[in-house]
């Protein structure tokens, strides 16, 4: 569903991604681990066509991202580390706006409330201005947008960063439920526990290269941590 084929991205002389290839199958949760500057967010930006690869190609559902930017974005939902919404609008209004853009139709209020509820936002907070929301609450609106879009693939850029443990756990459960419905998930994270808990497969990136790829059921949490530290120190 999500394919990066021999992708290299250079910023001037600096190589952010170096001939990276990975493939995420439908229903998989692929967790990308790596230190800051490893190239995780660059890869997400390439899938979103916010950046264009220096060489190689990226495909979503077999469609080339550069050649079909709008079509591929229709298949995607994106949740960044900081879900940015319009502070003067309520959570419901934000969801109404973004979902209208995503699906091209206005959802009824009841449906919007259901989506927010499914994302874990308390119903009584739906009409409050987003400026008053915590980071976790914004994240939930972001998830509701993704749910409304009924996307085939989810791109998540460090989604649990800054969430309290309970909110992070809630988020992980939601992600698993979503992938069980056949949605493909590519998520970047620093959180080894989150990766092990939710990921189907885990990739470790270092200096723009994919240095390790493994199935999460094949490693224990301790092994994953050791492997990660080994790569970071090498």
């Amino acid at each position: 569903m999500l394919d990066a084929i021999e992708v290299t991205k250079q910023f001037g002389a600096k190589s952010a991604l170096d001939n990276i290839s990975l493939s995420v199958l439908p229903g998989e949760i692929y967790c990308l681990l790596g230190a800051n500057g490893a190239g995780k967010t660059t890869l997400v930006n390439l899938f979103l066509n916010f950046l264009q690869p220096t060489s190689g190609s990226l495909q979503i559902g077999k469609l080339d991202v550069v050649r079909h930017p709008l079509e591929t974005k229709r298949l995607l939902a994106y949740i960044p580390e900081q879900v940015t919404l319009y502070g003067v609008l309520s959570g419901l209004e934000n969801l109404a706006f973004f979902s209208s853009l995503a699906i091209g139709e206005h959802l009824p209020r009841q449906r919007l409330l259901e989506l927010l509820e499914a994302a874990g936002l308390p119903r009584q907070a739906a009409d409050d201005r987003v400026a008053t929301y915590s980071k976790g609450m914004r994240q939930k609106v972001g998830i509701a947008i993704a749910l409304a879009k009924n996307a085939k693939a989810l791109l998540l850029d460090e989604p649990t960063s800054g969430l309290d443990p309970s909110a992070a756990n809630e988020f992980s459960e939601l992600l698993v439920r979503t992938s069980n419905d056949g949605v493909t998930v590519l998520t970047t994270t620093h959180d080894l526990f989150h990766a092990k808990q939710t990921g189907t497969r885990i990739g470790i990136m270092k200096q723009g290269r994919l240095v390790e790829e493994l199935r999460s059921e094949e490693v224990s949490h301790a092994d994953l941590e050791a492997l990660y530290l080994k790569h970071m120190k090498s």
Partner: protein
């Protein structure tokens, strides 16, 4: 999709204090300007029509006297105030409204409101046109400078683009929201004003004024649209909202405050107007020269009013002398007025960098308060003066010249005065204004298209930097 973006932007802007406060202030100023203009026009119209009637009545009832004495006294004619002068007084306050039609000389229009104004008037008159030309672009900048840059800084642009919102929809959605903000503020006031203006007019004049209002709306629409798209373009191109604001305010100061004055000075250098003294001296010289030639041709006299010409030809001499000067008057005033019009046309080109200059000319023209329409009135007033001169001279030839040396004992009465028709001046139609100002409208259209192209270019570049 652009409608969804427009609706969201409009909602965000209406919840933003900037639109409420800045927009509220503009609406209040607009209402004050309209009320003041309306009041001024009602007062002026009543004073002018009363003055015109009294003056003509005084002409009719001046009793028995020598016709030339009557011609020397002459009469005053008053320029009617165009109904849309409430919206844009144009050059009206600076060129006056009354002409003294007296024998021998073509008078300038007198009684300029600007002469009675305080020094504060130098800062410009608070007219609805001035508000739309100067303050409304500032309002567009204030509410729109961060339309795109703020979305990028906050990260919502990333969210929007990740959903597959095309840049074109983003541009037109944001433009529609900004335009709607402006429309919400001025459309109700503008519509109410238009209805009031048209309703108080005689039926015969309504169609012309409706056309003028429609053309004005088109001109101002292009001008304000230019600022909407320019604001969006700069907001998309600038690295930060702060940079965007500084650039846009800099352009606003340069294009709406500095450029018009610079354009005026520059065109004066390009097409210089003579000083008052030089103009008067040249005119006097040319009139005297023409007079000398005419007296020589018709009466064999070396100088005008040569004692060798008998009093039995005094009336005929008066007619010859007056008519001899007409050519010199037409040539000198024509040259001066042509210079003013050339200056105006040269200024229009400044509209390519400062569209307010093009709009100002177009707005005055369509409001009926520009120089070309002032010239039309001055020409009509001069024609009336010549009509009086002619009637008086013919009467002298027919009655006084026959009396020989007793020429000056002749006295004409009310029958002669009544043959001078009351001065009736009709303002030129909208087609007259369009014929003079189509180039300004075309320039505004060009500037609008350029701003749309710039905004499209700005939003077609990678927005995630």
């Amino acid at each position: 999709m652009f409608a969804i973006i427009a609706a969201k932007d409009l909602r965000v802007l209406t919840r933003d204090g900037r639109l409420l406060w800045a927009g509220g202030l503009v609406v209040i100023l607009m209402l004050v300007a309209l009320a003041a203009g309306w009041n001024r026009q009602v007062q002026l119209n009543s004073e002018r029509s009363a003055g015109q009637a009294l003056d003509y009545d005084a002409w009719l009832h001046q009793g028995y006297r020598h016709p030339h004495d009557a011609a020397e006294q002459g009469m005053h004619v008053f320029k009617p105030e165009p109904s849309l002068a409430v919206f844009d007084p144009g050059i009206g306050p600076f060129v006056g409204s009354t002409v003294w039609l007296q024998a021998h000389r073509q008078s300038e229009v007198k009684f300029r409101p600007a002469q009675d104004a305080t020094g504060l008037q130098r800062f410009g008159e608070l007219s609805p046109a001035w508000l739309l030309q100067v303050l409304l672009p500032l309002l567009i900048i204030v509410i729109g400078f961060n339309s795109v840059s703020d979305e990028r800084e906050r990260g919502t642009l990333r969210q929007l683009l990740s959903l597959g919102a095309p840049a074109r929809s983003l541009l037109y959605g944001k433009a529609a929201a900004l335009a709607s903000c402006v429309g919400i503020l001025i459309a109700p006031v503008g519509l109410a004003f238009a209805v009031l203006i048209v309703a108080r007019l005689p039926a015969g004049e309504r169609v012309d004024v409706v056309y003028r209002i429609a053309w004005l709306a088109a001109g101002y629409g292009l001008y304000l649209g230019f600022f909407v798209f320019l604001t969006l373009a700069v907001s998309a191109l600038a690295r930060s909202s702060r940079t965007s604001l500084v650039l846009l305010l800099g352009f606003w100061v340069a294009a709406t405050l500095i450029a018009p004055r610079t354009a005026s000075e520059a065109t004066n250098l390009l097409h210089p107007t003579p000083s008052r003294l030089d103009f008067d001296n040249q005119l006097a010289h040319d009139v005297a020269d023409a007079g000398r030639k005419a007296w020589s041709t018709h009466f064999g006299a070396r100088t005008p009013w040569d004692p060798s010409v008998p009093l039995s030809k005094w009336g005929a001499a008066l007619k010859v002398d007056d008519e001899a000067g007409y050519g010199a008057l037409d040539e000198n005033f024509g040259r001066l007025w042509d210079t003013f019009e050339r200056q105006q046309r040269a200024q229009e080109w400044v509209g390519l960098v400062a569209p307010v200059v093009a709009l100002r000319g177009f707005s005055m023209g369509l409001a009926g308060t520009d120089f070309s329409q002032h010239r039309d009135f001055s020409t009509a007033a001069e024609a009336q003066r010549r009509k009086i001169q002619n009637i008086v001279s013919e009467d002298l030839i027919e009655h006084a010249d026959r009396l020989g040396n007793a020429h000056f004992t002749y006295k004409a009465g009310p029958e002669l005065w009544a043959t001078v028709p009351q001065f009736k001046y009709e303002l030129p139609s909208v087609s007259f204004a369009l014929a003079h100002h189509w180039a300004s409208l075309a320039l505004l259209a060009v500037m609008f298209c350029l701003s749309v192209a710039l905004a499209q270019f700005a939003l077609s570049r990678p927005l995630m930097r």
